[in-house]
């Protein structure tokens, strides 16, 4: 426990959680959505490794069990849930058509003799863009789920990740609304809370998590967090250079509301478009103030009751 134990940049959350100096380095995911092909190999590989049940469409946030189309295009998963630790979001949108014409294609402008541009002027034209992104538990530096867990089921591991200990969880459900990203959930019929473990068992065996192992296009990259952060900076710079100015990193900033994510992303649009909160804050940041307010209110109660007896009359 140190200076920024509750909030703010924290270099080594494992050490902060009592692991000795010899603990392994912090690992995480860098999910580069610019190369995601939406194949959902991550979802399947995760479920196969972790022996998770199929849960159909996660019904509006709470894990559902309906095997049917969700009406959300190619996303029939819906969201992360107690049996879904990876979720590929599909975002269809209309964007100005000039994007690919001028930036992506390395070619001269279209002034070929005789070339007739049909249709509308490209300046006003739009085209369809289809973004895909594999969401996962963020393994926050300051993890609200972990903080609020009353049983110590949720812990920080030696790898700097956040883990639900299945043998401890009593299903109180507190972690669920605590998570600013809506990751963790209660599994119906089981009662306990579940979320991505970053394949804790595989990490122990020196393997990568199942999703990163499967990912065909290296959209999901696993590794020491520092290394991933550097790689992400490079990738961002190179995309910006190619004119993909909409690229941005998400969860990468250690000064953000959760002290930076252990699983961060390169996105091509605003986070909320992918179902991510634009400016998440660990709720426990305000906990000291909450306790102070609660204490003041409790004292008010005590004072009110006490004062009521002061009159002494019956």
């Amino acid at each position: 426990m140190g200076a920024n134990s509750w909030y703010g940049p924290l270099a080594d959350p494992s050490a902060d959680a009592g692991y000795g100096a010899d603990h392994p380095e912090r690992v995480g995911f860098f999910t580069d959505t610019s190369v995601c092909i939406g194949c959902k190999a991550c979802e399947v590989a995760c479920k196969e490794w972790n022996a998770l049940p199929a849960d159909g469409v996660a019904e509006q946030g709470a894990g559902g069990d309906v095997l049917g189309m969700a009406g959300m295009g190619y996303d029939n998963t819906g969201g992360l849930g107690a049996s879904t630790y990876r979720h590929v979001a599909f975002v269809e949108q209309r964007v100005p058509a000039t994007r690919s014409a001028q930036t992506d294609l390395d070619m001269p402008s279209m002034d070929l003799p005789g070339a007739v541009t049909s249709g509308e002027d490209r300046g006003d034209a739009t085209e369809v863009r289809w973004l895909m992104s594999s969401d996962v538990c963020k393994h926050c530096t300051h993890a609200a789920c972990l903080d609020v867990c009353p049983t110590g089921s949720l812990i920080r591991t030696e790898h700097g990740t956040v883990l639900v200990q299945e043998d401890i969880c009593n299903g109180c459900g507190y972690c669920i609304p605590a998570c600013p990203y809506g990751v963790i959930d209660q599994r119906k019929g089981d009662g306990r809370a579940f979320k991505c473990t970053m394949c804790q068992d595989r990490l122990g065996a020196g393997l990568q998590p199942a999703c990163a192992t499967a990912c065909p296009t290296e959209s999901i990259q696993f590794g020491p967090l520092d290394e991933l952060r550097a790689r992400a900076d490079e990738r961002l710079a190179s995309l910006q250079e190619q004119g993909v100015t909409e690229a941005r990193l998400y969860g990468h900033d250690q000064d953000d509301g959760v002290g930076g994510d252990g699983a961060f992303f390169l996105l091509l649009d605003e986070p909320e478009v992918y179902g991510l909160p634009p400016d998440p804050v660990v709720t426990t940041r305000d906990l000291p103030s909450m306790w102070r307010h609660a204490a003041a209110a409790a004292l008010t109660v005590a004072a009110t009751v006490g004062a009521a007896f002061l009159g002494g009359r019956r």
């Binding site: 190369v35 092909i37 159909g56 049917g68 294609l105």
Partner: protein
């Protein structure tokens, strides 16, 4: 990976081959341009630099437009084209083009709907396979694999006249130029619905990334092959790539992305009616044809096909062993003879007529997986016996119990006389064997566990069946039983821990590889002999067991090797990875450029990171003394070693049944006329089948929309391997239909509600996915105006059995085939779409009859 521009057309690579697609993404990261040409905006389009929406079934118009663009703008790779293609060859005087004959080439017989191909040949050369024998020229399954297309170049003899200045009006280059003169950007826009701006961006990306320093590649899949002009789609791409100099060079080529673990192997060692292993044709019926005349008809004079006699004799020795002798033509007469098209669809129709009593269906699910599934099921219902071997209880095994015709009342279970044996199969973890992947790479998979219960490998099943057949016929004196009696069938057997006596797959692979007179494994097909001293079951696979080592099981980690990874598995032929790689060097044997070098002549031999696809000591200045000595008669600057003239063909003087050059024809069912050749809407040489179960949608307003079938990455083909897996089914739990917002508005379709697609064959229902990815296209209507074409995407993974069930897309399709390879058209057809669920039970039959009547098909 090495490409500078990758055009994916007729393939949804990111979805159907995600792991292969990593190399495309790798190339893109390094700056390559990725273009996706497809009727649908798919996950491939999503990561491409440019998506070009195209009307389904018009790819030849686009490719023809690109060919014209390349010729007219002079952006072809001139040195390559002059030296390595048949551009200078002169075409005979009798040839007439589609431009001269209103949409057909010379030699067309409207009576039979077929061509006499004699007039297409070169001047001064004789194409040996004449029309009468054309079935014998069954060539390589070019539709499925472009790299090997050359392997089957039709043989001819003599030296064709040529004009190296390319000025002669009858030289291939000029013929080609005239043929495509009308394929202008305007035409492309009118036919394909691709605006001219987009066309120019595509053309520019392609041409600016081709030539000496750069290469571009095409990737295709069944989006090209499943058409009534499918072979010509690939031919069109071959012409374009040959003009641009993108064949036989790193980062170039035309890559067929095949859909099944060993679909390549299934054509190499074919379970196909018209082929023997190694693309040797099955013999046809003749009054008296012996081995020599067969070889004479079919073998080439030049190139590696010149040694077909050694391949065939070795094959016969492998099959009939000591019984095969020079005196009895090595049992050549044991081979059954063909008399026509015995491919799948005619067989199904014969079954429906009750003419085929027995049927083996092995790891395949035609009851939902074959076009016009109902016709297929009627075939199944008219068998005497059916053997189904599969991992899951597929529809083909249960059609008699719960097939759609039972629901509609068209069939009654009690009336179906088919005896059904369902034998559970072993999966790939339960058996040894090789798969041949889409890059011709043989990879061994080892057995990990024993199959449970009655599950057995197909190897076990056929070995057992063969053993029992041989035992039962051991004493027969009937001459028709001689082939089975003579058949070599002594494979070593390994008894597993659960007592299963499994024949050794390695022993079979070794037989395929072949052995020499001493019984040692051959290391190359060059060692095969026609005198009966060598044997070998599939000449192109010879070398896979070289040095008595199972080369396909080699697994030196990729990380320890260069990108070609020659020590991982084994690629046919001879473990070379890029076919025709001699073309990566100029005629003098120097790499065209440092950036794109692959093999080169070092003064004594061909060298480089790949295995040369060329006689390794044949110097670039070698000129053959004789024209008919097989590999020895190749000139040192003729890279296309499987072709009779060593060149890539811009014009096919022989070998194709529907034209020497691709021409645009509309699909069998199209909402618009053929703008280019108004007199011939569809391929005049296509195979049609007029049967009550196989009606074709007439043109007109009754079926105003186009649909195209497709796969999603979460499912596999007709679902036999994916519909029983919870983790896949939850990802795409129901049949769905992809439509544009415009079509949804026009027909009142609501996202995630039901709709049904209707053809004259059937109606199938699915959840509506309304998406802006689906884009209506504006094309010429053939009478001077334009009209909007709506295209509906119909995935084909579902059926009545399994976890996630739904209607099968194949119910909708008709059977109309490409004449060269008898492949059906699934990628473009017409339909109607309506909101709500389809009629069920007998109502469906009545509904469809109504629709046919309305369309004028039934009175």
């Amino acid at each position: 990976m090495n490409s500078d521009c990758i055009v994916i057309q007729g393939s949804n690579m990111a979805e159907a081959h995600p792991v292969g697609f990593q190399w495309v993404m790798e190339a893109k990261r390094r700056g390559a341009t990725v273009i996706h040409v497809d009727p649908r905006f798919t996950r491939t389009s999503a990561v491409a630099d440019l998506h070009v929406p195209i009307r389904a079934g018009t790819d030849i118009a686009l490719l023809g437009g690109l060919i014209r663009h390349v010729i007219e703008t002079g952006t072809y790779f001139e040195d390559y084209m002059r030296s390595y293609t048949n551009a200078p060859m002169l075409v005979g005087e009798d040839f007439r083009d589609t431009e001269d004959l209103d949409g057909v080439f010379s030699g067309y017989d409207p009576e039979t709907g077929s061509y006499d191909v004699l007039s297409w040949q070169y001047e001064g050369a004789e194409v040996e396979a004449s029309a009468g024998f054309r079935d014998e020229r069954t060539m390589v399954q070019e539709h499925e694999h472009a790299e090997i297309a050359g392997s089957g170049g039709a043989p001819f003899s003599g030296t064709p006249s040529r004009d190296d200045t390319l000025q002669h009006p009858r030289c291939v280059f000029q013929v080609l130029r005239r043929h495509y003169a009308r394929y202008t950007p305007e035409t492309v826009e009118q036919v394909c619905g691709i605006d001219q701006d987009t066309f120019h961006r595509l053309a520019e990306a392609l041409t600016s990334n081709s030539g000496r320093e750069r290469t571009a590649a095409f990737c295709y899949a069944v989006g090209w092959t499943h058409h009534t002009v499918g072979v010509q789609y690939i031919r069109a791409a071959s012409i374009l790539q040959s003009l641009l100099g993108n064949i036989g060079r790193p980062g170039g080529g035309i890559l067929a992305l095949r859909g099944h673990a060993s679909i390549q192997g299934s054509t190499d060692i074919p379970t196909l009616f018209d082929l023997l292993p190694g693309y040797i044709p099955m013999p046809h019926a003749h009054q008296d044809q012996d081995l020599d005349t067969f070889i004479e008809f079919n073998a080439g004079n030049k190139g590696f096909w010149g040694h077909m006699d050694t391949y065939l004799v070795s094959l016969l020795k492998a099959w009939f062993g000591d019984a095969a002798t020079a005196d009895n033509d090595f049992c050549f007469d044991h081979l059954p003879r063909l008399t026509g098209n015995h491919s799948s669809f005619p067989t199904v129709m014969a079954q429906a007529r009750g003419e085929v009593p027995g049927y083996f269906v092995i790891g395949e699910n035609p009851a939902v997986g074959t076009a016009n599934s109902k016709q297929q099921r009627l075939g199944l219902a008219n068998l005497e016996w059916l053997v189904v071997r599969d991992l899951n209880m597929i529809e083909t095994a249960t059609f008699w119990k719960d097939g759609p015709e039972i629901e509609t009342g068209e069939l009654r279970t009690e009336d179906i006389g088919t005896e059904v044996f369902f034998l559970p199969a072993a999966n790939h973890t339960e058996k040894d064997g090789t798969f041949t992947n889409t890059q011709r790479l043989l990879q061994w998979h080892h057995k990990a566990v024993e199959p449970p219960g009655d599950c057995r490998s197909d190897l076990w099943f056929y070995y057992e069946l063969g053993k029992r057949l041989k035992a039962r016929l051991a004493d027969s004196t009937d001459p028709s039983d001689r082939p089975l009696q003579d058949l070599t069938w002594d494979y070593p057997v390994e008894i597993g821990p659960t007592g299963i006596a499994e024949p050794s797959a390695e022993a079979v692979l070794r037989e395929i590889n072949g052995t020499d007179a001493d019984g040692d494994a051959l290391s190359s097909y060059l060692e095969m002999k026609a005198d009966g001293t060598t044997s070998g079951g599939c000449w192109i696979y010879t070398g896979v067991y070289a040095d008595e080592v199972n080369q396909s099981a080699r697994r030196r980690p990729g990380g320890e090797q260069d990108l070609l990874a020659l020590e991982w598995g084994w690629a046919w032929p001879m473990n070379r990875r890029v076919l025709y790689n001699r073309a990566s060097a100029d005629p003098e044997g120097r790499p065209w450029s440092e950036r794109k070098k692959l093999i080169w002549w070092d003064g004594e031999r061909w060298t480089g990171p790949d295995v040369p696809d060329f006689p390794v000591n044949l110097s670039p200045d070698h000129r053959p003394e004789r024209e008919d000595a097989g590999a020895e008669s190749i000139a040192g600057d003729e890279p296309f070693v499987m072709q009779s003239d060593g060149r890539a063909w811009l014009y096919a003087p022989a070998g194709l049944l529907d034209g020497p050059m691709p021409a645009h024809y509309e699909p069998q069912e199209s909402p618009v006329p053929n703008v280019l050749y108004p007199k011939h809407r569809a391929n005049p040489a296509r195979e049609e089948f007029a049967r009550p179960e196989n009606p074709y949608n007439p043109p007109g307003d009754h079926f105003p929309y186009v649909f195209t079938t497709f796969r999603v990455t979460e499912h596999h083909t007709a679902g036999g391997m994916s519909r029983w897996t919870p983790h896949l089914n939850e990802l795409f739990p129901e049949m769905f239909l992809e439509v544009s917002p415009e079509l949804a508005a026009e027909r009142g379709l609501v996202n995630n509600d039901w709709a049904h697609v209707v053809t004259t064959r059937s109606a199938v229902e699915g959840r509506v996915v309304v998406t802006e990815r689906a884009k209506p296209l504006r094309v010429a209507d053939g009478s001077g105006g334009t009209r909007v074409i709506h295209q509906i995407g119909v995935p084909w993974h579902w059926g009545p059995n399994g976890l996630a069930t739904g209607d099968a897309a194949n119910e909708l399709l008709s059977v109309a085939l490409d004449p060269n390879v008898h492949i059906m058209e699934t990628k473009a057809a017409t339909c109607d779409i309506r909101p709500g669920r389809r009629p069920r039970g007998p109502d469906l039959v009545a509904f469809l009859a109504d629709r046919r009547r309305a369309a004028g098909l039934e009175e």
